[in-house]
Symmetry: C2
């Protein structure tokens, strides 16, 4: 009887290994050789699952997004307008997300994105989806009469996204300078301004 390989499980196991390597030593610690060795199979076998390092890093990033989005979707479900924006913003703060190592994986992925056109395109698509989601909630908020600021919608969304990215980086590189309470208050102020003409 041929050996049965659970490919989905193997994929998850490899992502576990890559995740651990990123958390320990950053993007540079993820090499095909090291991943294969820690996952306990030959480099050739690894290449059946992932064609190269970028594929593995991308899979780790997608898991990080998924971890964040899982809690996000649960929070936002059934909400619209400012309530949906608030739930999205708060659920994705680095000080809120369940697994803080996700911030590290995101930072390492961003570093890689900067020099890899394929990852760059993937990430730009993600930012577009992110932008569109926030824009939809702003549009709902305007329709409901909750959002009355004169600030352009694009600027509102931009502010929310830069807040999230900035906080994610600072949370990793200088956590003592990112107080959860200050960040929460900044979100509260942002939302209050949407309600102010």
């Amino acid at each position: 009887m041929p050996k049965i390989i659970d490919h989905a499980q193997r994929r998850e196991d490899i992502i576990d290994v890559a995740w651990g390597l990123i958390v320990e030593g950053g993007i540079e610690a993820v090499t095909m050789r090291e991943v294969a060795s820690r996952a306990g199979f030959a480099n050739g076998a690894l290449r059946h699952t992932f064609s190269g390092k970028d594929e593995i890093v991308k899979a780790a990033y997608e898991r990080a997004l998924l971890k964040i989005q899982d809690s996000l979707l649960a929070q936002v479900k059934g909400l619209q307008g400012i309530a949906a924006l608030e739930a999205s913003l708060r659920a994705t703060l680095p000080t809120t997300i369940a697994d803080p190592s996700s911030s590290r994986v995101l930072l390492s992925f961003w570093e890689r994105v900067a020099f890899n056109p394929t990852l760059d395109e993937d990430y730009s698509q993600h930012v577009q989806v992110w932008t569109d989601g926030y824009l939809q909630h702003v549009t709902e908020g305007r329709a409901l009469g909750e959002i009355v600021t004169e600030l352009p919608d694009e600027q509102i969304v931009n502010e929310a996204i830069l807040l999230n990215i900035g906080a994610t980086v600072l949370h990793v590189v200088s956590p003592t300078h990112l107080k959860a309470a200050t960040l929460e208050a900044q979100v509260t102020d942002f939302l209050a301004r949407l309600r102010t003409p």
Copy 2:
């Protein structure tokens, strides 16, 4: 006559090489071997100038900061309060700084900081200096009666820093989603809010 080595020049040459490697291939492209080879001397000679990769990456980061701070200091000179805050904020936007490759070097440095306690301490000190500088301008602005917002000073400074870091990352990883005009408008709005009770 012994060969005269210009150590300061050698240091600058090595940073040039490391800077180019980061821009081409990110943090991972910077290896002692590659830097020595491109700079045209033996690995041993390189180690007389820099003890290891982290020292080189740190020197590249310091050059990136210096490039930003040079224009910053020129802009802020003689100013205080909101005028100083405005000049600082605008001069350090990734869409404004003279050499856009500085953003890439900063991102790669941040990725490295996350996994290196020595760099981490250096960077935390930098964030403290950055925070203190902004706090001083906020204090001046309050004394001048220009800043009348009820937002806590710490939150104001935090918002400015997260805006800068978030913009720096987005500028590198998804530049199509960061419009200079939107970012400028966000800064204008931020400053206007300081003047609003």
